[in-house]
């Protein structure tokens, strides 16, 4: 890792879909809205701790296509069952100072090549900004 902090790659199209994988843990990462019956992600799906350490882990749809990967590759990766929620790069960039970069995960095999990070412009961004971004993504993310 270099000293320079990269937080947005403008070559990544605003309309590109990003996939966030969350463990299929009952009553933690997602919940039901008692007024609509819809599922939505919770704060546990985007913790401030993870953001402040390195950024929120995602997979880019464009790179997955390029490497012939599918959603099933995400769901079956890791030790525990996962599910996939999608949002767009523009949802991230809607919050000033937030963006998306490529960050290959060497331990992730072929899937790791499609790996990226959602980041803020500072390595230890203030919580209010992180929470603002999280609110946006929870509102926009849809299950796949």
């Amino acid at each position: 890792m270099t000293d320079e902090w990269h937080w947005d790659d403008e070559s990544i199209a605003a309309s590109e879909e990003l996939y966030r994988h969350v463990p299929r843990v009952p009553n933690q990462k997602k919940r039901v809205d008692p007024t609509t019956g819809e599922w939505s992600l919770t704060a546990a799906a985007f913790t401030t701790n993870e953001m402040q350490e390195d950024g929120w882990s995602i997979y880019r749809n464009g790179l997955m296509h390029q490497y012939g990967l599918t959603q099933a590759d995400i769901e079956s990766s890791g030790d525990e069952p996962r599910e996939v929620w999608a949002f767009q790069v523009m949802d991230v960039r809607d919050v000033d100072g937030c963006g998306v970069i490529d960050q290959e995960d060497p331990a992730g095999g072929m899937l790791g090549r499609a790996h990226g990070l959602v980041r803020c412009s500072e390595p230890k961004s203030e919580k209010k900004k992180i929470v603002t971004l999280r609110n946006k993504l929870i509102n926009r993310a849809t299950p796949r």
Binding site: P23, R24, V25, P26, N27, Q28, K29, R31, V32, D33, P34, T35, T36, G37, E38, W39, S40, T42, A43, A44, T47, T48, N49, E50, K127, K128, V131, T132, N135, K136, I138, N139, R140
Partner: protein, 219 residues
């Protein structure tokens, strides 16, 4: 309350609650407050299409995780039961003990502290007819309580380093954010802001789904 349609008549208290949600009782303006719209990110939902809104909720609601929700065993008969605040706190306490028990050995000490602190905050803002919060650990050693009605969310988070914040958002926009020391009493104004938001949220949820308790189990 009987009959699905009656649940959709918006009384003054409902419209006031919806406006207060969006405006923070005049502290800020938001476009939703002008329309007094319904609390949903799914505009197509209606009593005809949504069994929840029509009050036809199965007692074994499919959660999508391969198990069923069961009604809470201590559902009060009426939401204005004078013991409901006790009921609210009992739900909170039991739920947090479950969260703590489900953590790893190394996370348990942190969760114990966070659990006590979150319970204190919830005790401060909970009221007789408060809707129960969704409570869980965040997987990083913290715990959080969250209420959601359509696009509106209230969130109180105690993090793994025992720092804390509260957050109110509408349609993905943060409308109120406050960091606090969970070892200290919540300041009066902020406690009042959260109490008011929870009260308004509870009015909306009770109006749209009087059987909301079916979504909450202690297990």
């Amino acid at each position: 309350m009987t009959g699905g349609n009656r649940r959709f008549r918006r009384s003054d208290d409902f419209n006031d609650a919806w406006a207060a949600w969006s405006t923070g009782s005049g502290r800020y303006l938001h476009s939703r407050s002008r329309g007094g719209g319904r609390p949903s990110r799914s505009p197509s939902a209606s009593a005809e299409t949504d069994p929840l809104l029509a009050g036809r909720i199965s007692s074994d609601l499919d959660t999508g995780f391969g198990y069923k929700h069961k009604p809470s065993p201590w559902n009060p008969a009426k939401s204005d039961d004078p013991e409901s605040h006790t009921d609210f706190l009992r739900f909170v306490d039991t739920k947090m003990r479950r969260v703590e028990a489900g953590g790893t050995e190394s996370s348990r000490v942190r969760l114990t502290g966070a659990r006590r602190q979150l319970k204190d905050v919830l005790d401060t803002i909970g009221r007789i007819s408060s809707v129960y919060p969704f409570i869980a650990d965040d997987g990083d050693g913290g715990v959080f309580a969250e209420w959601r009605a359509g696009s509106q969310r209230i969130e109180i988070v105690i993090e793994q380093d025992l720092s804390a914040y509260a957050n109110i958002s509408d349609d993905g926009e943060t409308v109120w954010f406050f960091e606090f020391d969970p070892n200290e009493n919540l300041p009066f104004d902020e406690a009042q802001r959260l109490r008011q938001a929870l009260n308004n949220h509870s009015i909306i949820v009770n109006r749209f789904n009087p059987q909301w308790r079916r979504f909450f189990t202690a297990g």
